[in-house]
Subunit: 346 residues, 3 copies
């Protein structure tokens, strides 16, 4: 992929509040402050790296409005409200080159049921399977090897990558992006023990994925026992996440990698779940709650509450207890000293 | 999917011990007690929801035999031994509509080796690959994009969903259900460090899956170094579970999502492993043992023992220690107070 | 798979330092010491099993040079420097039978872009997709259902199994082995919250996998925001592992199953990460560091350091604290006793 930006393009995309210095080279690459070479654009996205700005060799540097400093000769400082967002918007243009919009149409190797409804602007890539009564919206792109089961729906402008599975009757909203290996609508895990055998509880519900949801590679969202498993508009889910049957996730949540959410949990809006967290079944997590990485949650969490630990506690309490736990060797010695001091002299 | 049940059908499927009241509407849906509308059937599966029964708007309610209460006008109470099982059996009929039995035959896009043996009643869906010497039993359904390697066997009436992989020489029993993305028989993780490089230990054994096993989406069961990795009859495994090489899992176990079982572990029968547990290699877990969610196990577990924690302890001890851990701030204060009290006055 | 070894073959493969006794049967199987029958070869790979050697019924036993003992009648002891390595080399020959080298060529059902470069000795199996500008090296084997995106490269003699995805512009070195369901180059997890919505940070970098890397089933390696996510030469990764964007993993590391490595971590060479560990973002782990299973790491780890726990501590300290934690019930009683003793009498 070739990166090329003129200064005019950069300005039109990032809308700078002001600039300082002047760039002497066209932009041909993007790099971190430390790794940048002349010809690169870089950015200060995390104040941790502030001290790297003066020494960066980047030709253009995106900086927050309140940064104070002077560019080197041939170097341009571009001030913006949020350098990370500014960079993301520059990268959006490049993303279009990495993933050029494919031509509409159905690849000859795809197996599309005559009973499926495929919008004329959709692209069905090679070796996809679309079953009867499935509906594929306008501008949808099924990359290749994608399976869409009977009665399932894929909303307009959604993008399903290689090997994604949308089982029967599940529905995706608009602009949904599913990375390779995502499985929507496998059976939830439900059995009844009858006479020494686990009798299957059929999972006859479905999954509903809202608009603008993105789900990472190899994550799995199970269909409900009956009714719906649902993921709200704008929620983002990372790789290898498990969402159990009948879970309801609100809007604009962030679910990091390898999280497991057991059946029938309800999450509000703007919930953040750190990597490798686990939630027991039937919990309610209030809007704006934050679960630090690797938390194991077994009780409801009120809105706007931060928790940590396994089993989880309020964040500040867990932080305190971790420190005290690490002082257990000292505590045992102190108790021993007290015991010696209080022992009857002999 | 259309839900329709007459009262006669419900009675013939759930075999009620008695009924109370009379229903005025045909059944067109299934819902929880709280969400049900007239026309729905609901059930009391968890006593936690007992207080929702009097106010439910469901037309038919499945109740345990010892429930006492009076239906509303136009409402029918149906008493059964286990309402969850009764509902599961009703849902089984609907499941047949969700997943209608496909016609036997091999889809023209499937690649089936002339050296494979496919039973005449089996269905090989689109874009499947079946290699030479593979054997596909009677009534088997390979949904689509399924891979069955050379010498592998799929037992009668098994159902492998999109993208399932059964590598060479692995065998599945009868009525095995594998959800999308399950990988049977990838290499176990074994190396020997020789002269600074990890030299591969070839994994030339296989995997044997028993009758009536169900495995959830994207789970992985590794082939053994030599000999067998095996999963016993009737065992159920959830999504994103990892089973290492040479593991032997007994019959009728329940392995919840995201569990990891390291190589050469042996689990007895009826073992329950909660979500996100991890087992170190070469452990023996006795029959009927129960591992609470997120346990990290590094020692053998005797039969019928419950453990929790990481590293795990007997369940009751871990519960006690968790409470005491949370009281560490108090304990430090108490020790400080004792130290002050015992300090020489001056 | 048929196992057959003559004594001469065994000797030529394992290069014994000496032998003792004489075998009366040809070798037809491989088994552990305890399970072996006459006709099997076995080995003492772990000193834990030393006491099983005298009673093993194996016809040939691979033993470490310093083992002292006498074979039974008709039994051959073969002494080698490392019996596990010796067995691995024997198994390598069998592995060639399990996975015979396929004939070169492109299967008629594969979709290979005319703009892709496929070496004449490569094998492209059924239902694979190779996009334009992709390069497939000499001796490469794409098993089936493999996807290689535009501009991606697969180095000589690499082996990609069913359903592997290598997204656009990612590169694999030579002799890379990717098990089924591995996803290389899905988007990293990056968003900026703008006006209440998570705005996508495009992930326009790539992934670079070094020579001799092996990655287990359903693991995911995300493409970088820009620049590279990379896995160094000779590193081995187990199943269901998540490697975030911009992570740099050194050479000859071992990453066990279900590990999660958050974005922008840097691991040195010969790092060992136990199963189910999690690393927070932007950490540096020094060469030769060892993370015990289920560690949760949130701080940098110096080279050659062993850690354990979550949040992790130096290994020996964590071991000590775990013991003390388990003694909390006792400690509370001791403090209570001190309090009683120091209470004013009355």
């Amino acid at each position: 992929m070739k990166v090329t930006f003129t200064q005019a393009e950069i300005a039109s995309i990032v809308q700078p509040t002001r600039t300082l210095g002047s760039a002497s080279e066209p932009i041909r690459g993007i790099a971190t402050l430390g790794a940048a070479e002349p010809g690169d654009i870089s950015f200060l996205g995390n104040l941790k790296y502030k001290t790297s700005v003066p020494s960066t060799r980047a030709t253009v540097v995106l900086l927050p409005n309140d940064y104070t400093g002077t560019p080197a000769s041939g170097q341009l400082y571009v001030f913006v409200e949020n350098p990370s967002v500014a960079l993301a918007r520059l990268c959006s243009r490049l993303e279009g080159e990495l993933w050029p919009k494919p031509l509409p149409g159905i690849h000859p190797t795809a197996c599309v049921s005559p009973g499926a409804k495929v919008a004329p602007t959709a692209t069905i890539g090679p070796l996809c399977v679309v079953e009867h009564d499935a509906r594929i919206g306008e501008g949808v792109h099924l990359q290749s090897g994608v399976f869409v089961g009977h009665g399932a729906q894929v909303g307009d402008n959604s993008w399903l990558m290689h090997g994604v599975v949308v089982q029967a009757e599940c529905t995706l909203g608009r602009r949904v992006r599913l990375h390779p290996g995502v499985i929507i609508g496998a059976d939830g895990f439900g059995y009844e023990l009858v006479a020494g055998r686990h009798e299957k509880v059929p999972q006859i519900g479905t999954v509903e994925i809202g608009d603008d949801v993105e789900i990472g590679a190899n994550s799995t969202i199970d269909r409900s026992r009956f009714g719906l498993t649902s993921v709200g508009e704008g929620t983002k889910i990372d790789n290898l996440v498990q969402v159990g049957h009948n879970v309801v996730i609100g809007r604009h949540c962030m679910i990091c990698a390898q999280v497991g959410i057991a059946g029938s949990c309800t999450l509000g809006d703007y919930v953040v779940v750190g990597g490798q967290c686990g939630l027991a079944g039937h919990l309610t997590v209030g809007s704006g709650a934050m679960l630090a990485a690797r938390s194991g949650v077994k009780d409801d969490i009120p809105p706007k509450t931060s928790v940590w630990g396994s089993p989880s506690l309020p964040l500040l309490l867990e932080q305190k207890i971790i420190i005290l736990r690490n002082r257990l060797p000292e505590l045992f010695k102190r108790v021993e000293a007290l015991e010696k001091a209080s022992a009857p002299k002999g």
